[in-house]
Symmetry: C2
Subunit: 441 residues, 2 copies
């Protein structure tokens, strides 16, 4: 990071920690400044559509919290979080068949803090973490900050492939290594848009037992199934093997930064201690706001409103993709959540195409950021959560134009930058029901 | 941490990180459950007296924020924090003669997160951090989590002793080591209750230049001077050597968890990256609430209200200490902030006396938690921030009773637990204007 010639741009480089030197800014965040321009249709960000919330009602709730419970709401809290909120969180998890005690919950400053806490409790530099390929970029960031080695496990349209998980565990065992945990998003995966089947959930838990594996189940989207609920949570199948992460960012409001982690008792103690070192306690105000909302507002109906909003947008995106995408492009068909994962023909580079896409006023996130190992080159994540349906359709139309142009360029001039030639072998995978590209195991 | 006999109470011990194994629960937090009983006068916690806030006005502000800016307040934010708040923070810092650009500020989830961010940006296991002896327990916790070695630098009634700082820096240099930074609370120190003099501030900055030392200046109490403002901030004397930490927890409301860090440009980038890995972004709601409060409410007057509340309580505590404390006990006389630091006679153990104090319905924090090296055995921290004056007086009266009893016991039976005999050599240090016990360098 030093310029090496004495004229450092950063006078502090010789003081930074080893962990910091291993961190790189996120591919997604680097995009935001341009992608947020109003003329650009952003299929990049994962912002929930908070405009669907009843702002006047929430304003009333928040005001009530401060006026009648201000002495607590404005005061320091406890590291584990408010008991009243933890009890209500048990009711939320009950919707996904999770039986839990408020005692085993730690409230967090969003799920991101939960990920960071889990990383700090378990990870030493060089430790192995298993994660789907692709995987959530924010989780990869915390594993990277902990200097862990992420080993990706292949997915297909039914989610994580248990046979691949077994093969990876076996390989590690043979090498005398052990994964500290498996990180997985079983429902409406970010970014892959796929969901782990019921049968595979049992298989994953059986493998966890067989290989003495901890599972970190990250479930921000579980209540946002469009046609049906996803399978029962992994946590409902095993209390001792699973650390469960939940969030109000997608079912209520991301700006509150309230999430939680449910963990076996001993682990919960450690997580609380780590959280205290990070933030002392989560905000009592935002915790009280969530508690009041869960108590006083028909929040289950609001979740249904969100589901309908996102279902309509998912439909718009899939329809537009079916209509406009040229041959050789495939994508996943999510049954919930926020994301479609799109795969370009062999040899293409989604990141290299970003500037042209922005010129055409459409933004997406290149797939490479969702892998720790350089995979994902010809993939991109498309979000349908935030823009209204007509903008999504327009965005996909623009993106199809960019992809069509790229195909023409490649046919005329051959592949650029020394890449393999573009495949022009027809539309065999075009319906997008296939798997995202397998991660390297 | 394993029980070692196969019947583990904690089945996960063989998975925890090395950093976690080095962490221990805080002495302060372990006390809270008992200290919070209504019959106990707690001189233990550092809770600000938020009851002095105009709850109805804040309820109105908060409601307005959600109703008119809900689409932003309830949405994800950016890692660095909202620009409008960062600009207002510059006005707050201007009160302490700090000229800063909003560009160089990162908003944090309370100052604790700022401490953790600084630790992660700079500290590797085994690194040296300098800190006053005693030092803020929450800071020591983050340094411990980073597996750093804390070297304490002696204080007296004028704050950190520059000659001791020089000696420590010199000693490190001779040993071929370098401190990653000096952590200091120059104003109304927690827990020592002393303030760095104007002349010493210049000396500290001169030493930082001479020894190429970074300074982390933690200033939560700077606006809470009872008789006068403390000296100008260290940051106002050097932009490149000082990382400055500020907080709204004591001047507005701790329950919002809004603090900030002001750092040289290159460091600011790193801090933002670390914060994104920890919490993605601070809460937009609580940031908007603080911004609205600073814009619309006469907050400078509210700071004056807080000052008067705490001044009256400080006076009550010092008066009661003068009146009730037996010979051989001494304490500091804070000119602002929340804390008095009390020193028992040679050979006494403040931690061992906690159970008896609780029996007498008074709580304090034993000094040992404010040192990383086992010092502080005969010290305690007394907080006057939260209980009303009459309770403070009663609490000090009870504490004096406990100390008197201990003195009698020691005279009758000799020192317990093999400690050195209690000194009964009169009241030579009883006025408490002397230094807190020097930390071990």
């Amino acid at each position: 990071m030093s310029t090496g010639d004495g004229t450092t741009l950063d006078d502090y480089t010789d003081r930074y920690s080893a962990a910091l030197r291993g961190m790189t800014p996120s591919e997604i965040r680097a995009l935001f400044s341009v992608a947020n321009r109003p003329e650009v249709v952003s299929l990049a960000g994962g912002m929930p559509y908070v405009e669907a919330l009843p702002l006047q009602s929430i304003a009333g709730l928040v005001s009530e919290v401060v006026a009648s419970q201000g002495a607590v709401a404005l005061q320091y809290g406890v590291g584990q979080g408010l008991l009243e909120l933890r009890e209500l969180i048990c009711e939320v998890m009950d919707l996904e068949d999770i039986a839990a005690s408020a005692e085993d919950i730690v409230v967090t400053t969003g799920s991101q803090q939960a990920l960071d806490m889990v990383s700090r409790v378990f990870l030493d530099p060089g430790d192995v973490v298993l994660a789907e390929g692709p995987s959530y970029v924010g989780a990869l960031g915390t594993f990277q900050a902990a200097q862990a080695e992420v080993v990706h496990v292949e997915m297909d349209d039914d989610g994580l492939v248990p046979a691949r998980l077994r093969a990876t565990l076996e390989q590690l065992r043979k090498a005398g290594r052990r994964a500290k945990f498996l990180y997985t998003v079983p429902n409406f995966h970010n970014p892959a848009g796929v969901t782990l089947t019921e049968a595979r959930r049992d298989e994953v838990i059986a493998l966890a037992e067989e290989y003495d594996l901890l599972v970190v189940e990250d479930n921000p989207y579980g209540l946002l199934g469009f046609e049906a609920s996803p399978g029962r949570a992994l946590r409902s199948r095993s209390e001792s093997r699973v650390i469960y992460l939940g969030s109000f960012s997608k079912t209520f409001a991301a700006g509150l930064r309230v999430g939680w982690v449910l963990a076996p008792h001993a682990v919960r103690d450690k997580l609380t201690m780590v959280s205290e070192a990070q933030v002392l306690s989560p905000s009592n105000l935002t915790q009280k706001v969530v508690a009041e909302y869960l108590l006083k507002y028909p929040w289950r109906d609001q979740v249904k409103v969100f589901r309908e909003v996102y279902r309509e947008r998912r439909d718009a995106m899939l329809h537009a993709l079916d209509l406009h995408m040229p041959a050789g492009v495939r994508w996943t068909r999510p049954a919930g959540g926020f994301y479609v994962w799109l795969t370009l023909p062999e040899g293409w580079d989604a990141k290299a195409m970003v500037p042209r896409a922005l010129t055409h006023k459409v933004a997406y996130v290149p797939g490479i950021g969702f892998y720790a190992d350089g995979d994902g080159v010809r993939q991109m994540r498309l979000s349908y959560c935030y823009p209204p349906p007509e903008r999504i359709i327009e965005g996909v139309r623009r993106l199809a134009g960019v992809i069509g142009e790229e195909a023409e360029l490649r046919e005329t001039f051959g592949p650029v930058l020394g890449q393999a030639p573009a495949r022009t072998d027809g539309r065999t995978h075009s319906r997008g029901t296939e798997a995202p590209d397998p991660g390297t195991v």
